[in-house]
Structure formats: C-alpha cells, structure tokens
Amino acid sequence: MRDQLRLSSSTVVPAAVVLILVLLPFVLDDGWLTVSTLALVLGIAAIGLSLLYSTGQLSLGHAFFMAIGGYSYGFLAAPSGEDVLGLGLPAPVALVIAVATAGFCGLLFSPIGSRLGGLPLAVATLGLVFLGHHIALNAGPVTGGARGRLLEPIGLGGLVLDDSRSLWWLVAAVTAVVALLAHRLMSGRVGLSLRALHGGELFAGTMGIDVRRRKAGAFVVSSMYAGLSGALFSVVSGAVVPETFDLTLSLNILIMIVLGGTGLVVVGSLVGAVLITVLPELLREYAGLFPFIAPDALSEGISPSSAAQFVYGVAVIAILIAEPGGLAVLAQRAGRSVRRRLRGDEHDTVVPIADHPLERNHT
C-alpha cells in the first residue's frame, strides 16, 4: 500500500507541475503572467546561487554575471544600430554563447573563490557588481552605455515570440530543463562530493575529492545559470539597461535562496523566487485590506512597496532564526506530517533536512 502511494506521489507532483506550467497563461492576465515569467527567470539565477552556496561560497556579485549574460546576448543577438555594434546572430546561438561567456567569466574569477573564505569572498564579489556597472556605462559600442540596448523580439525557427504567453512557455521550458539539470547534479556524484564537503574541506580532501576543482566548478556553473537568467531577462523585457543589474538584485536573489531554503537547491530557489517577485504585487493589489498601508500615493501610511520591503526584511530575519532550512523545509515538514496523519503511521521518523554543509559553526 505504502509503495503504491510513494509511486504515485513521484509521478503526480511532476505531472501537476507540468500541467500548471502549460495552462497558466490561460488563467492569468498579461500583467500577472509577466510577473510569473520574471519570477521564473530570477528563479534560474537563484538556483545558480544556491548551487554555489552549497559549496560554502557566498557571492554577492550574482548580478554581475547576470549582466554579462544579458549584455552578451544583447550584443550577439541584436543587429548593429546607430551607435551600437551587434552581430545579429540567431537567438538560440546568441543564448548559448551568452551563457558560455558568463561561465567563462566565472572561470576567470573562480581562483579568487577558492582562495577566499566565505565572507571575504562575499565582499570581493560585491566589487564585481560595481565593476560591472562601470563597464556597462563606459563600453558604449557593446553595451549601449547609459541608454542601454534594445532587443528585437526573439525568433525561434520561424516563430516570433513577442507576446506574454509564448515568452512564458519559453521561459518555463528553459527553467524546467535547467532545474532538472541542477537536480541531477545535486543527486549525482557531484552532489555526493558536495555532501562530503559536509565533514569539512580538509576531510573531503583526504577522501580524494579535489575541493578546489569542485568549488571552481560550482562557480562556473553558477555563473552560467546567472548568465542564462540575465539573457532571458533581456528577452522578456525587450531591453537591457545598466540600472537592472545592481546590488539590490544580488541581494534579492540571496534573499530568495535564504527564504526558500538553501538546503533544497532547486525547490528552495524557485519557491523563494516566486515569493519575492509576487509578494509586492500582492501587497499592492490588496493594500486596502491593511489599514497601515496607503492605498494611493498621497494618503497617510506607508506605500505598499515600502511595506513589502519591511516584510522581506522581517521574513529574512524570522526564517533564519526559526527555520534555517527555509520555507521549502517548512512545507516539506508540513507535508510529511499531513501524510503521516493520513496514513495513521506512528513509526515515521523525521529526518532533518537542514543538515547543510554550512549550518555548522565554523570558527
């Protein structure tokens, strides 16, 4: 009986997800669909950051690699214009090269990642964001300078994807693929060696795991995810401007993975991304229900966006204190207790998932 249940849960859930992804455009209007599309785009970046974080490296420069991806795609895919250069390559080619470029930049930076501990690395990557912004403003012919670049609607095999629905399906498909890839990565040999890092880097080293290569590899992969996210972001917005890739973006993605749960790389990141993207919109729609939020610009009270900011800050603190595994773990625990109650089974023991390589007190 139990085996049968287990089998169905592992096919029902993915099937449900696929169904939702396919049918969503018919349920939501243009605006909410764009919100959801952007949530997935940022989710890809979040998965990348979570992968990196699971090897003990914290990067605040994720926005930089996203910028690399976005601007590379802009340069590769758009034709030359008034004061910008472009190669006008077909979209899929441009996308692949953009991702590779971001990965290459990650490779260049990875030695720093291996040499620095968690926090100094965080500060170092902070610098990347500012460096990226500076380059974006000054490399006019490639990046369009302060004005940015405009992009033509993406074309795939004769079809032009310039409406919200087709963009959603494109992004959803790409997200599903890279999410599965990440899942494979984490549950395969790589994931095993990452879990071995669990016992400490020195320990993992004695087990024959090349710690340095693993960490560098993680950096490259995470940069590629960021690059893909950046490129897709440009596709969805139709333009790439320097204001997009700032420190706030890096911090937002960090908050996404923390809230969603860093223990579950894929699910946590996506949950976090959806939450962070959707929350301010929700607060704005239903601002009327909260007495302290100002329904319009000029009434008393704080604006919905400020309220949302407040809620994030508090949520980050609360989740980190209460449940370091994040919302995904909370949901998992809730789901498990529900299932347990349904089955009436008393003998299940809850295995702690928040057994994260970083959730230990490093001195």
Binding site: P120, L126, S306, V316, I317, E359
Partner: protein, 295 residues
Amino acid sequence: MKELAFFLLSGAALGGLYGLLALGFVVIYKATHVLNFAHGSFVLLGAYVVARFSSWSFWGALAIGVLVTVVLALLAERLLIRTMAGRAVLSVTIMTVGLDIVLLTAARTEINTQLLPTRDPWGDKQVVLLGLVMPQARLVALLVSIVVAVSFFIWLRYSRWGLAFRAATEKREAAALMGIGLGTLSALAWAIAGALATVSGVLLATYPYPGVNLDLGTIALAALPAAVIGGLESAPGAIIGGLIVGIGQILVQGYQEYLTWLGAGFHEVFTFGLMLLVLLVRPQGLFGQKEIVRA
C-alpha cells in the same frame, strides 16, 4: 606639488572617516566572524538622532545618539544574533542584511528628504595647515579617527577585556577559560560598533557636507573595501586600509583628466578594484593573519 600635498591631506581626512567606518565592521568581525551589513543603517540612525537633538546641545545630542545606537546594537545582538549562536556565520551575516533592510525602510519613511544640519562646534570654519586651507571639521575627523584607532589598539593590547577580545579570534575556548563568556564578548563588540557608528555618522555629515540625510545609510558600504584591504580582523588594518582607500580615491578623482581611458567615474570602482588586487595577492588583507584551517 602643492596640489598633491592638498590631495594627500584631504585624502587622509577622508581616509580617517573610512577608517572609522571600517573599524565598525572589523570590531564585530573580529569578535564573531560575522559581517554586519546593517552597520550603514546604524550610522544613519545615530547621526539622525544627534542632528535631531543638536539644537539643544551638540555634545548632549552626541551622547544621546551614541546611547541610542549602543542600545539598539545590544538589542540586535541579544535578540537576533544570540538566538543564532552556534549557527553558521554566513547565515548570521545574511540575517544582518535583513536587519539592514528593515532599518533602512524605517529610516526612509521617517527621514524622507529631510536634510538636518549637525550643528557641530566646528561649523564651516577653515583652518590653515602647512599652507593648505582645510575645513576644520575635516581635520577633526582625521584626528578623531587616529585617537580612536590608537585607543582601541591600546585597549586591545593591555586591558583584560582587550586580551579576551584578541583571544576570541585565535582560540575561542581560551577566551572562555579566561572567564569571559563569548556572548559577553559579542555584546561588547556590537556595543563598540554601535558607538563607532554614531561618531562616524556625525563626522560624515559635517562641513562641507550639508547634513544628515538618507544617503548616509548607503555610504558605509563604500568603507567595506577599506576593511578588507586592511584585513578584516585587524583594527589598525581598518584605519590604514581606510587611509589607503581615502587617499587613493582622492588621487584618482583628482587626476581623472589623465585617466580618462579608464572611463568616467572610475574612482568609485577604483576602491573595489584595489580590494580585488589585494585579495589576489594577500587574501587575508595587509594586516590580517592567515587562517589555519581546522577539520
């Protein structure tokens, strides 16, 4: 030549300010290995309180400001940091990001576009030093940072608490054996950082800067490279890192007409570029100690 001297002096004054800000980061990092991303909002808060009360009495207001930030820091330490004892330092650091967001959002709602003069006793008076004209307030900033740095250094070297503080970095157990709890050490570090925040904030807002406003909340981050260059665990390193960054920034900004090939506004990126360079060559910073990895 005179111009260069002026740049160096101004750079030193700015560097002193950066050094004080950097010290705020270093103190907490040294005691707890946590990077406090909320330092910027403490700086803003402290300066704001001082500016609010300064019309009554500047020194009184300063005392109140320091008191407020110290209390706030202790509260944050006790309620938030302490509950995460035993947890990974990266998690705690991320939590300070959340704290920073909360505090800055509150500050934005309260302060808005207000610009509050600090009404300090140095005002807009100029002082002549070695034939160079400089705002008195800037000179005071430089002197204060030197005094604070030296005092801190002496305290660390010669007082019992200072000794425990240093021990906390090298051997956490030894510090406990000295009868000083790690929790107390952490609280002490946060309190010191809180006091530093107000002092830094007030000095930042003095002439020629017009006063306390929202922008102060994000300026502290510019001092992070200084802390890293000096070595995140070194108090003298923070000050020296600050001086390097301050002087470097003024020089690059001052001679930018010769550096146009680096792009406009390069001086802002310069500090981070310098930081990356130092990290490549000497990851522990100029005065930091190489970390011994224990399994």
